[in-house]
Amino acid sequence: MHLTLAFLALLATPLFSWLPVVPVKAVRGLGVLAASVAAGFVWTTAFPVLLGRVEMRSLGIWFVDPMSALVASLIVLVYLATAVVSVRYLGHERHERLVTDRQVRLYYVMMHLFAFAMLVTALANHLGVIWFGLEATTLATTCLVAFYAKDGALEAAWKYILLCSTGIALGLVGILMVGHAAAVGGLQHADFLYLDTLRMHASSLSPDIMRWAFVFVFVGIGTKVGFVPLHTWLPDAHSKTPSPISAMLSGILLNVAFVTILRFKGVTDLALGGTEWTEKFFLVFGILSVLLPGFILLIQRNYKRMLAYSSIEHMGLLAFSVGLGPLGLVPAVMHMVGHTLAKSALFFGAGEILLRWKTTKLDHLPAVFTHAPRTAVLFLLAILGILAMPGSTLFASEYLMVGYGINTHLVSTLIVLLGLSLVAVGMMRHTLALLFEGAPAATEVPPAVESVREPWTLTHAVMAGELALLGAAGVFFLLPSGLAFATRVAQSISSVAL
């Protein structure tokens, strides 16, 4: 019931946002209201499952187990944060006549539909609905990638829709293969594509067909996750989108796609009778996805692209963790939470810098700390968080990941550590230059802006809140209860007892 209400709120709001009779200012307020309502309904359903007070709920086409409850909770959290930041971000852009009223309406329509599509994907039990949701996220966000229709935004949008739609089409082939395996295995037509039924009858699925199905799903949906070498669209799309939407794209959409692959992994592992075969894919793609961004981040001079490459690296870390073995799912769960909080905060901060200086190039920026100390401090804290400094959730996850990796895959772990070191050097170098040095060829700051003391904005409040959550979750996951929580979530998607 609560989920239905959340979906209704998310579907009705775009309609109201598009109506000319609703003033644009009201559209922004409506966005926050809709996000709050959806968050309330989703959390009411998800928290009891997450806290173990209620067993997982299978509602036919929907499925609320601890993993989907966690992902849905994170979706609405980032959605709510984005809605709040968008009030400031679009308000400023509209004030400066950088966007028209029509664009503001389009932004909100697509933002709500994007959140709706992610929730559908995260909570669906039917593989067809999952596919539908994933493709819908691509379509909704394409409009947002092409939002400014200039400076490479069209190029980014074209690459995005073409590569992701093709990837998801390949994923559909994998889904059809799963359906075929189910048919050959004797399942009823009505049950072909239900995940819970497939898990229950996995032993009757042909292992050979399931292997092929997994390859297609991994490559297809892996394109959406941004695994190297399927990542080429990601830095373009994430850097050209309005910053609050970049926070949703990087902070949560990648997780949604990743968890979808994990769901297929669970069914495939059960059909194959072991986890080793699928883990090899995660390990190889994980290592590649950590290493390549490591090298590129050393030379990256665009701070939004820097954050986008960091997202590829973190998806690589998630894959690496899962590839280490069944227990790798536990740090992966923690990492997902930490990455969502830190990356969305970083993109919100990037948006503040972009609003002020209208450029994403480090070579055109003065020392941000001098002119915008609040943004600079929060951005620096978020960078330290994403680089897994102690106190961050990502410290807890990477600590466990590396510890487990040294025991199971020593060489691979050392390679990943090399990649992480490159990432840390590259990101810290560029961040310190961005915040404290400023480029010699920096754009002149307009006097009106320079003289104004940076105000405390909605964006700062949201970033501070997310950073507080990042720290709190970091402490929680180091406690036995936090570890037990992550294990329970991981267990719900694992094919073996953890």
Partner: protein, 218 residues
């Protein structure tokens, strides 16, 4: 007449495959869209013949949907989009006609050899439709890779989608109607969005050549 349609199944299959093969050396935008429409109509008739042969009532709406959406609406939508954008009739490719055709035929022969080793080939509802589906999807991928303009890449994507539709026919045959409707809507939306984007690309860069889309680098 219905029985005749079922007998003509091999003919529809051949048209379905040949439309995608011939699309590769076709560099006129209107001809390319006609070939796509032809492929979609052949697919619709193929689904119809399956419906007749297996007495599967649920396949009739699918056949009609394919005929209407892919055979009529999408080609009309794209023709209109291309006319409005004022794009050149001549499409760009990395290869000339003869090498394009050679590469496609070679790729299809390799597909024919590989498909015999697929674990689900033996259990598929129709082995020849399974081959066709993979061949058509592969031809679509080749078109996306070898062509250098946004319209051809869009049509390449549509051929992939046709291949996947045939794949579903060859493997699980039955997909719930709601999901089918969802897939049709998504494909239609995706194509509308691609058409809109290609129009904007043409407007901004004055060409549909993807060589102009190389501004974003590290």
């Amino acid at each position: 007449m219905i029985a005749t349609l079922a007998v003509l199944e091999p003919l529809f299959a051949v048209v379905f495959l040949f439309a995608s093969v011939l699309a590769m050396p076709t560099f006129r935008v209107k001809s390319l869209l006609r070939l796509y429409a032809c492929s979609s109509i052949a697919l619709a008739l193929l689904i119809f013949s399956f419906a007749v042969r297996d007495a599967s009532g649920h396949l009739y709406p699918l056949a009609l949907g394919t005929l209407f959406v892919k055979g009529l609406v999408i080609p009309a939508l794209l023709t209109n989009a291309i006319r409005r954008s004022g794009a050149s009739e001549r499409l760009q490719s990395s290869l000339r006609a003869a090498p394009s055709l050679f590469v496609t035929v070679a790729a299809l022969l390799v597909t024919a050899l590989l498909i015999q080793h697929l674990p689900f080939a033996a259990s598929a509802a129709s082995a020849h439709v399974l081959y066709l589906s993979i061949a058509v999807a592969f031809a679509g991928i080749l078109m996306m890779v070898l062509r250098r303009d946004v319209f051809s890449q869009m049509v390449g994507f549509l051929f992939i989608e046709n291949g996947i539709a045939a794949f579903s026919l060859a493997t699980i045959v039955v997909i719930p109607v709601a999901i089918e409707v969802g897939i049709f809507s998504i494909v239609l939306l995706a194509v509308s969005m691609m058409a809109l984007l290609s129009h904007k690309v043409q407007e901004l860069y004055g060409t549909s050549d993807t060589a102009s889309l190389r501004e974003l680098t590290d």
